[in-house]
């Protein structure tokens, strides 16, 4: 077994200084060397880092792995690796318990069901473009576009009353924003839990035709009634997993595309490219950028190495997504690449449940934003854009943009 530490003593968290869109340069070295490397993680344990595409997929489909500390507790300095799994916490569950809960939720995220939401999402994107165009730049695209769209989509999904959506959106923005102070964060957290509990209780009393309502009925009919606690945890999981990720993807991919005028021009000329463009940007940006943490519960084989029960393992999604043996010229954005087999949504039984929804949201943004605001551009020098280097989901803190007034259409 190789105990290589490739010039770094801790988990690679610093990005390549030459490009804020590229994963740490160490990952390329890791992919090239034999076996896996054991790296010290900020949380205080060593983990084997799996960096090649095929190994990431093999590992994440191995049944001898537990997700109880997923997704990225390894990089959280005061993270708790042995926290008991909360009932209803899909991301952290294993085996049959995970499968049962996931199956109750899956009908809400089928390709068909999500396609049916497309007109709503289109309207939402158009409304937000209208609101941008009603102003003159610069505006912060994160605050006024990237954050509210996924937030409202979650409201629609969960069946939050229209009258409550503003309040819900304000609270979740604090929760997910990176500029919130700890006290505001705690308050927002308590408010969101309170809000979700009210919502769950209301839906339990009178289940409507929305995700929570249907889930409650489906679980009852299957004789697996879900508790208030489970439903609240699930609701908050969907909120956080669906809001922060999609919002960061909107902000970061807009910036990356603004830096690649030829690719952006191709997208503007052919909005039909949005489908493959979204998967390529997911691959290229890999916003769950520290990878996903697992603990072996039995022997796990990677090539000719065996990971023993109890050992920790990080599947570096961003490294696998830049594996040149699968994606030729991996550091280049190629919107026509057809990179659907990327790892940005993970792999195996925990692969993102909301991926079809995320795809549709991003496709509508990709197809409409640049079409309708063709002169969209950064309002500050690129060097001044701040990146969320240490957040579990990578993105930009703010994205000041502007446009020519003639774009008003």
């Amino acid at each position: 077994m190789s105990e290589t530490t490739i010039g770094v003593t801790s988990f690679p968290t610093t990005r390549d200084s030459s490009c804020p869109f590229d994963p740490p340069a160490e990952y390329a070295e890791l992919r090239a060397q034999e076996g896996t490397a054991s790296l010290a993680c900020p949380v205080g344990v060593n983990a084997r880092v799996v960096s090649r595409y095929a190994d990431v997929r093999a590992v994440l489909s191995d049944p001898n792995l537990s997700s109880h500390a997923a997704p990225s507790t390894h990089v959280v300095a005061d993270g708790q690796l042995d926290r008991p799994v909360a009932p209803g916490s899909l991301l952290h569950m294993d085996g049959p318990d995970h499968a049962r809960l996931r199956r109750l939720l899956t009908p809400e995220f089928t390709v068909k069901r999500i396609q049916a939401m497309r007109p709503y999402i289109q309207g939402l994107v158009d409304d937000h473009v209208d609101a941008l165009l009603a102003r003159t730049g610069p505006v912060d695209l994160v605050q006024d576009f990237a954050l509210p769209i996924p937030s409202l989509v979650i409201c629609e999904l969960l069946g939050v009353d229209y009258g409550d959506r503003d309040r819900f959106q304000e609270q979740t923005a604090v929760l997910i924003g990176t500029n919130s102070d700890p006290e505001a964060l705690q308050r927002a957290n308590a408010e969101v839990v309170g809000f979700m509990t009210q919502l769950v209780l209301a839906k339990m009393a009178a289940p409507g035709d929305d995700l929570l309502g249907r889930l409650i009925v489906r679980a009852r009919e299957n004789g697996q009634e879900l508790s208030v606690e489970e439903l609240v945890t699930l609701g908050i999981t969907l909120l956080i997993a669906g809001h922060e990720t999609t919002a960061n993807m909107i902000g970061l991919s807009t910036l990356a595309l603004l830096r690649q005028p030829d690719q952006l021009a191709a997208l503007r000329a052919d909005p039909g490219l949005a489908g493959t463009a979204v998967d390529e940007m997911l691959r290229y940006l890999s916003i769950v950028h520290f990878g996903v943490l697992r603990q072996a519960t039995g022997g796990v084989t990677i090539g000719d190495e065996t990971i023993k029960a109890g050992e920790w393992l990080v599947a570096a999604l961003s490294a696998g997504n830049r594996d040149e043996s699968v994606f030729p010229d991996p550091d280049r954005i190629d919107l026509r690449r057809g990179a659907t087999a990327h790892l940005a949504f993970g792999y195996g039984i925990h692969q993102c449940l909301g991926q079809q929804l995320a795809r549709v949201e991003l496709q509508e943004v990709f197809a409409r934003l640049h079409q309708r605001i063709p002169t969209l551009r950064l309002a500050v020098p690129f060097e001044e854009v701040e990146f969320k280097d240490h957040a579990l989901v990578y993105g930009v803190r703010a994205l000041p943009v502007t446009w020519d007034v003639e774009d008003d259409r």
């Binding site: 996931r102 199956r103 089928t110 390709v111 068909k112 449940l353 079809q356």
Partner: protein, 64 residues
Amino acid sequence: MKVRVDVDACVGAGQCVLAAPDVFDQRDEDGMVVLLVEDPPAELEAATEHAALLCPALAIVVEK
């Protein structure tokens, strides 16, 4: 080409439906995979193989 699906392994990610909508669907009641054609015609073989490659649960087996 012969296709088999393992509904017990399926996690309903819908990758197969996106890749080969003429070959795979998802059940309305639980989102699990439905095989629409067991022996896809030649023009659907590539899409079917791609679906099998994408499936995160290794629930699709293709035999040539």
